[in-house]
Symmetry: C2
Subunit: 94 residues, 2 copies
């Protein structure tokens, strides 16, 4: 088993854990309908990060980076949608 | 300006946004003391991801990957700590 093969497995494990970690947050926000403690700014900025990683993956033609970040963008987009949907309407200044 | 230089900038931008995205969540959880909607499983799994990325960065000797994932691990560790600290004690079966 070459060393390179083990490094690729470690990278894929890290990618799977990164993407997989958003699934329980999507399920919890969807099931509980409670998103108050979730930071909107976090999910706006991390979506920008995933778009950047997606561009990076396309430019260096790394399909694992592209695939993982399409999934990441989808999952973080759902969390952001659930957060914005449950956010109280902003009071308009008189 | 070589193409490689632009690709590196895109990768660093993506890394900065990924790490930076956790800061508003740390601030919100710390300031509000409210963590109910945050998924414990998400932060356990994403911490495993960051340890894996840290190992990956060390093995391929990529110092940006190492530095970003030490920061990511620190920030997600704080969120996990705040979440576990505010979690109600589990009821022991009689």
């Amino acid at each position: 088993m070459t060393w390179d093969w083990a490094i690729s497995v470690l990278g894929i494990l890290a990618g799977l854990c990164t993407t997989g970690s958003f699934v329980p947050q999507v399920v919890k926000a969807w099931r509980d309908g409670e998103t108050r403690a979730i930071s909107t700014r976090m999910y706006v900025i991390i979506s920008v990060a995933f778009v950047s990683w997606l561009g990076y993956g396309l430019v260096i033609r790394s399909w694992p980076i592209v695939i993982f970040n399409v999934l990441n963008l989808g999952l973080s987009g759902v969390i952001l949608f659930l957060k914005l949907r449950s956010a109280p309407p902003r009071r308009k200044e008189a």
